[in-house]
Subunit: 474 residues, 2 copies
């Protein structure tokens, strides 16, 4: 699919072992993490930022479309080629250097192709970590380009909060390399251009290297599953934990009965924290962690958790109906099994919504009523990061199996319209941008913002390297 | 100084009481917080974003230069007019609405003209606060445009971290109003354009309203003054506190003897924590705060502080030489007196540097040696936010009094060159951009970044409303 001259130029840029042309070799780069994928003309795997620059420059000069990709674990089709077979995948998976920890500075300089697990292994030697907790094991380039959030956002924030500096390659004819900020915590001596590249899904440029702030590793953990008195009480529980355990609160994960029940039914070996009893309509995994050393004779996190729960239990008419204590790993096993449990019931219609957190109970109730009325064959199996407003609003057919595509599209559109138009929600809370949300982008982002976004990207980019069109069709 | 047609148009936009023409009325808006200031053709004080839009649109259409200003407490001459008498000050000080706290969402929607103190008073009713701690009492518009940091940055971060949404007026012929993000914690459905306006010192547009995340108010505080074994040991102390008290660590403020001595000598009523004994070469105010309720029978923050200090004291050859405990207010009184103590000795040559924190001891030593060699009449009286690399590197003449302007410029340039070129420091860590740092911007920001920054601003702005030229002279 690649012209002879493109092939020769890319070979010259990355060498024989950096150019993947055969179908078998391309497959992993063409297949998206969960659903979908496309076909690439070639996969190019540069080893250095210089090589990235050569590849990008060639592509731009010659009108060769390319899609940057690192770990390819994203869920918005932001890193896979389309079906045309004409796009080149620019894989960053060999940019595994540097991986330089500075423990006194509490920062790390890291190549775009380093996996989160590899980064955390290197950081662990210094008792440090990048505390972004995900279901997948992405690479740093994609985490930056997606502005990954995750389950511990409420305490640590997203990638944006950790990115102190970036090196990028711009999609222009020269493949211009740019250093954006010098890796300082405080720097207001210039516009914060790097924030266009964080969450920029590659559109203004390809991230090749980052300087990240990192954190002391947790040394204590305590967790519980909370059963709220009713669904509105979830917020009261959250506020109580923020008030009474705030500095240690690292997760507050809401789980609907529909999601929990499917995980318990379909995920082998998963222990039932409700021990066969009734699964409540909604429950919350609350986690406290601390980097402090346990001190002899001093109460630890488990004591604090018990104190907070005891106060809540004593409040007459309070928000807490029940609380289950247990090993944190076991609690998380349930939370992490939810996606697998759903997929076992057929293809999932997944919406990565983000709302004002105060709106979550009302939105959930209204969406459930709408489904019961207009789409009774679907059930909402949602879970999410309540404290930061994240709701993974997943729909499955009650009978299992795949929905008719048109019907699936209808229910997706109806929920999106309710969330975005009715509640001012985001249609991509933490999965970022990619082909999977192009229709939502076109529909819900105001034409003015689309135009300014496209113009800002145009400052850096002579061509669009990303799997999403930012502005209205030209 | 205003033409009749400009005057009529501005009157029509903001009404009689919104247009300040007389010298007495203008003075407060023309005078900068510490040194310098200029002269305005007029001060325009719109009451609403619609009025801001009308004023900005008129100015842009008619080539009338304007400088946005809110609390006018900044230190970079970013909010005062130049000396020409031709610029209009666009004051946001009447944009005091909304001030709407949402306690369940833990956010507040706030007009650009609301003072930090007024915001915190409204938040206190809900046991919340915006924990950005400054020597001044700025307004929100300026805090956003400067990306204010402050003494508790290490725990809470800067304004950027708190801004969930913005409303801005663009400096174009229509005075276009733009809403940037809807106030969600997680939103990756579009480019993060708002981050261009945070720390944008008004260049891409004028902030009229913000949605901010806020925090539970502290309910316990403990503080100490630490004397490190030597200056390199400061970092070891910091790492020990991050490790053993991290979740509660809210300040780690380094203070040089030269600064402390001047505060003790010149600030009336200031208590000497060293009780007349020798002031150490360098000391650190460490503060722990917690939003957790003190619980009967459970150790509090003061106990934790004592535990950490005891561990440090027991370590043979450890980093801690001495520690003074006392009421936090008294410790902070010393820290807050440092600027006043310096100013009492004559005009201060103030540099708002930010370094990799690991570089601070080495930079301080090298700068001191350079001063002793090349500028022996000056003394560095620095203090700073060690944990985030902030160093307020202040120079005063040893004899007191003002330096000759050319000599003052020489020493400023020499320190800047050492910091920025030798250590990759920022020349504006937290004071942001303004005329005061134009020369540094021109000299130290790479031409490529200057060009991209100017082009990005040009996407939003038909005219430059700010007191700094972003790109090379046209």
């Amino acid at each position: 699919m690649l012209s002879a001259s493109d092939r020769a130029a890319l070979l010259a840029a990355v060498g024989e072992d950096g150019l993947v042309l055969d179908e078998g070799g391309r497959a992993a780069y063409e297949t998206a993490a969960r659903y979908g994928g496309g076909r690439a003309a070639a996969v190019v795997r540069p080893r250095t930022a210089e090589e990235v620059s050569a590849v990008v420059g060639h592509c731009v000069r010659n009108g060769l479309a390319f899609v940057p990709q690192s770990g390819n674990t994203g869920l918005a089709l932001g890193s896979t080629p389309d079906a045309s077979g004409t796009q080149v995948v620019l894989s960053l998976d060999r940019l595994r250097a540097p991986l330089a920890v500075d423990a006194a500075d509490r920062t790390v300089e890291v190549g775009a192709g380093v996996r989160l697990s590899a980064l955390n292994a290197a950081l662990a030697e210094h008792d440090l970590c990048l505390p972004i907790d995900l279901g997948a094991d992405p690479m740093i380039g994609g985490m930056v380009a997606t502005n990954t959030g995750g389950a511990r956002f409420l305490r640590y924030g997203d990638m944006r909060r950790h990115v102190l500096g970036l090196e990028v390659v711009l999609p222009d004819a020269e493949g211009t390399r740019l250093t954006l900020s010098a890796g300082l915590r405080k720097d207001n001596a210039q516009l914060a251009l790097r924030h266009l590249f964080v969450g920029g899904f590659g559109a203004p440029g390809v991230v090749t290297r980052a300087v990240l702030e990192v954190h002391p590793r947790p040394r204590q953990t305590a967790a519980a599953i909370l059963v709220p008195r009713d669904e509105a009480a979830v917020l009261d529980l959250l506020l109580a934990f923020e008030r009474e355990a705030g500095p240690f609160l690292t997760a507050f994960e809401g789980m609907s009965r529909a999601a929990v029940v499917r995980a318990l039914a379909h995920v082998p070996g998963l222990r039932d924290p409700f021990q066969g009893g009734e699964v409540p309509p909604y429950c919350v995994l609350v986690e406290l962690t601390s980097s402090l050393s346990p001190r002899e004779g001093r109460p630890g996190l488990a004591d604090l958790l018990e104190d907070v729960l005891a106060d809540l239990a004593e409040a007459p008419g309070g928000p807490l109906a029940d609380a289950l204590l247990g090993p944190p790993e076991r609690m998380w096993a349930l939370r992490h099994a939810l996606s697998e449990g759903l997929r076992a019931c057929g293809p999932v219609i997944g919406l990565d919504l983000s709302l004002r957190r105060a709106d979550i109970p009302r939105f959930r109730a209204e969406a459930a009523a709408m489904l019961a009325r207009d789409f009774p064959e679907f059930e909402a199996c949602d879970f999410g990061h309540v404290a930061d407003g994240g709701v993974h609003f997943n729909l499955v057919r009650r009978e299992g199996g795949a929905a008719e595509p048109a019907r699936a599209e209808q229910v997706r559109e109806a929920v999106l319209a309710l969330a975005v138009e009715g509640y001012g929600a985001s249609f991509s809370g933490e999965h970022g941008l990619g082909r999977a949300v192009q229709a939502s982008y076109d529909r819900f982002v105001s034409p003015l913002i689309q135009a300014y976004s496209a113009a800002v990207v145009g400052v850096f980019a002579d061509a669009s390297p990303a799997a999403l069109r930012l502005g209205p069709p030209q």
